[in-house]
């Protein structure tokens, strides 16, 4: 059984990760579908705002929750278990990919550039796949 003191940081971590997933999914669909709809500029703006106003705060909440949980004994382990390492790799590399997607989505919105928007969309899809792997690792806890 998990100690009760883990519940609040776990709620922050889980909620942050799930909200981040939704924001990145919204950005991916908006950027990749923009060329096929009546108002592509609106969709590119929606993608950028999803990442900036929803995704970025959600990432911070997810990460604060993760560090809070880590401080409750995991930091005393000699070696991090594999599932924790997978989580950290996805969070660290994922942040770089997220920021790149955010910048590209912003550029695509301001320059009205379909190619740059698609690049942001592809990065968002990669991020979604990485998040799926991370959530699987958190649940299945591979050794």
């Amino acid at each position: 059984m998990r100690p009760d003191s883990w519940n609040v940081p776990l709620l922050l971590h889980v909620a942050g990760a799930a909200v981040l997933f939704g924001a990145v999914a919204a950005a991916a669909v908006s950027t990749l579908a923009a060329d096929r709809v009546a108002q592509p500029e609106f969709m590119r703006r929606l993608a950028f705002r999803s990442l900036l106003l929803v995704g970025l705060p959600a990432y911070i909440v997810m990460r604060v929750g993760a560090e809070w949980l880590y401080s409750k004994g995991f930091d005393e382990l000699e070696d991090d278990p594999a599932w924790l390492s997978i989580g950290y790799i996805v969070a660290d590399v994922g942040l770089l990919v997220f920021l790149l997607a955010l910048v590209l989505a912003g550029v695509a919105m301001w320059k009205r550039n379909s190619g740059v928007a698609k690049a942001a969309g592809v990065l968002s899809i990669l991020l979604l796949v990485a998040m799926i792997v991370a959530v699987w690792a958190m649940g299945a806890k591979p050794d």
């Binding site: 059984m1 009760d4 519940n7 776990l10 709620l11 889980v14 909620a15 990760a17 799930a18 909200v19 997933f21 939704g22 924001a23 999914a25 919204a26 669909v29 908006s30 579908a33 096929r36 709809v37 009546a38 108002q39 592509p40 609106f42 969709m43 929606l46 705002r49 999803s50 929803v54 998040m131 799926i132 959530v135 699987w136 690792a137 958190m138 649940g139 299945a140 806890k141 591979p142 050794d143």
Partner: protein, 158 residues
Amino acid sequence: MSLNDWILALHLLSAVALIGAEVLFTIMVVSLWRSSDAPRIASTMPLARAGTVLVMIGITGTIVFGVWLAISLDRYQLWDGWIIAALVLWAIGGYTGQKAGEGYAAGGQRAAELTAQGTTSSPELAETFGASRAFWFHIATLLVVLLIVIDMIWKPGA
């Protein structure tokens, strides 16, 4: 890794899909707030379709893998209070989510029809995408999903 580890992982992935879908729908609701712009509303339909797929994965996966896990793990029983609470909330959330989806889907369909007819604006759409019945059902769904997450983490009575 045991079978239970896999079931838990799939249960968690389903929950993330479900919450992610609600976030995606909320982004749509906020971005289209009181919009009467038919082409704009019709443009967001790919998002609605993606959200619907995520909801289907989430709502099916959470119940199937959740019940399977409750049966499979010795320390939990299906009749534990927090599991019954989760099942009741899941049913309520399914109902409110469906009602919200029906309302917004009708609005999206109307926007597509108006766009095809060359009409760019309609007060009827502004009503649907404002504080409508569908909106309040969506808010209710968000609250229910939040309660389910809290119930799953705190497991009161476990």
